[in-house]
């Protein structure tokens, strides 16, 4: 096998149905993509605090695992994994790292995939916001336009740009492992992200870290607008279910 669906540790642990949805979409578009049980963590939570020599050993371990499983391409649904694979694995391993990395949004936004999916929304004009995750906008190959291409391709879905978007988006407060030690960061910043949505009815995100922080803030503040993971949104559209229910 050569094509891997890399779900990431956080989604695997917390968001099983989203993982299933992602697998369903990816395999519908390319049946060669497979999941391997218990892959090693990309190491994203450790990068911020671990010395380069120690981190390099971990990166080599993961790369060896890819080689052992003959992985040549992977699609990940985790913004953190995407960021670290594209930004730091190349730095540590240079030409030794040969796996083609794609984030789910990049994969989806490929014209032939969008054509094959033929996404439609049967309801009236639905306004949604997309939250630009730091991991996606900051990576060495930024993922910024792809979610916009996808959303703008769907009839009756209107993308509302938040006050701060793309490279100037507000961080949810969960990056760098901060969510595990100082949640108070997201108490303010994630709330601000909702405040900046303008007329959007739902907030889409393609990052499980952002989702975790945003959804907690939504619950704690009784915010009516739902936070929806991109994979879940797409599956609901495919199944003809109200995507923001």
């Amino acid at each position: 096998m050569s094509k891997l669906i890399y779900l990431g540790c956080l989604s695997t642990r917390l968001y099983d149905s989203t993982c299933k949805n992602a697998i369903k979409i990816i395999q519908f578009l390319d049946s060669e993509y497979q999941v391997i049980e218990d892959p090693p963590c990309c190491g994203s939570l450790a990068f911020n605090m671990t010395s380069d020599d120690v981190m390099k050993k971990h990166v080599e371990f993961v790369n060896d695992w890819f080689k052992a499983n003959k992985i040549t391409e992977l699609v990940t649904i985790c913004a953190g994994c995407y960021s670290y694979f594209t930004r730091y694995y190349k730095e540590f391993l240079d030409s030794e790292f040969t796996v083609k990395i794609q984030h789910f949004l990049q994969f989806l936004a490929e014209p032939e995939n969008l054509h094959k999916l033929n996404l439609k929304y049967s309801g009236n004009n639905l306004k949604v916001n997309y939250h630009d995750a730091c991991h996606l906008r900051n990576s060495s190959v930024p993922v910024i336009e792809e979610p916009r291409i996808i959303l703008n391709s769907i009839d009756n879905i209107e993308l509302i740009e938040s006050v701060y978007n793309k490279t100037k988006s507000i961080c949810c407060g969960a990056g760098g492992g901060v969510y595990s030690i100082f949640k108070e960061n997201s108490d303010y910043n994630a709330k601000t992200i909702f405040d900046n949505m303008k007329k959007g009815k739902a907030l889409l995100t393609a990052c499980p870290f952002c989702y975790t922080a945003l959804n907690r803030i939504r619950d704690e503040n009784n915010i009516k607008k739902p936070v929806i993971k991109f994979e879940d949104f797409i599956v609901k559209l495919i199944e003809g279910v109200d995507p923001i229910s």
Partner: protein
Amino acid sequence: MSDKGKELYNKVKSKIDTTQKEGTLENKFGMFWKLASNMKFRQHELRYLYEDSSREFVEKYRDQLIAMKEEFIQNMDFYVEKCIKVMQEANNMTVYLAKTNEEAQDIFMKEIGETKVIYKSKSNEAKDIGIIDVLKKNNIKIKETDLGDVLVQLFDYKLPSFGIGPGAHFTREDIVAKIKEVHGVELEPKASAIVKFYRETYRKELLNDVKVSLTSANVISAEDGTILLGENEGNISLLTRATEKHIVVCGITKIVPTILDAVLVAKLQTRINNVSFSYISLIAGPSNTSDVQGERVLGMYGAKEVVVILVDDWRTKALKKDKIYKDLLKCVGCRTCNYACTASRAFGNIFASKYGLGADGIIRDYIHNGIEAAVKDGLFLCTGCENCRHWCPVSVNLGEIMKSIKKEATKAGLCPPPLMEYQQKILKEKNPFK
């Protein structure tokens, strides 16, 4: 995980608790800062002052600014030498190049002689270089002149505040109550009444009593040794004219190649903060006249002497030893990183050091006081979102510097325990949640 690491982690947690308690200084500042930073954020998009927004202005000049700063950094020795030569030979300035902060402090103390009162304008550089600390140590009275700093002194406020508006978090009511307590004068709680009070009581003193004044420089042109100082209040105009000796203390990275570069940096500092300088002073020497038979005499109505203390300290070392903080050499001091920062917006002045708010303040504390100081300042509150880089007009990546400092903190056993647990699980179990 060392005991020190646990202790610092708990200290930061306890500081966060303080920000959540209503009525504490940290809470009051935090409330102000959330509003102020959000307002500053939004202003980037507005076109109410000029035809273009500040974001458009920055984007227009970003590449030019970065190229100019990089040209300076790559040829730092050349430009510093050139600047000093022209200041000494053409501008009649007394110029020193201090290798360290301590050397700068010694030169400064010698230059002020027997003076026991120093009048100063707002200067973050003076903090970075340790001039404020050495003046306090030597019992020299520091008289602030920027109204924001005057208010900070009035309240004896010790916590970090916003470099551009250091007293902006005090309410009108609190200010007039404090003025009544300290000066025995009752004022209406209005900004205009407070300004009038200081204009009537302090302006005379600034016009008549200043012997030695201290300013930094917004930027200095290497080609002609001109010091550019921007302001709104007029205090810098008074401090640089109505004085006997004007002392400028700043880091060598305030130098740019040309006078046009200097004007661009000054313009950027105003545009990015949506303010305008009422006055820009271009100081190219002491006051002088040649009106008596062409003989040049220094010290007509303005300053008799202009002394410039250029400080290297960490700067050349950062470049030549490829230090993790060398990107900071590009900084133009606009302070945008303060309010673009996720952690700063959430945590106010507990994510800060005595050198200022945010990652910039913490990195400077790390440079001067080491890794423990940085952890205590809230190093691990940084999410690494890199908003600082995206909003910075010269793309300084403070997030990447913070990441490198975090790695050093971990080596020193100062990483917060929950993060260490994740790290260990990733490295050993290959999964953070196992």
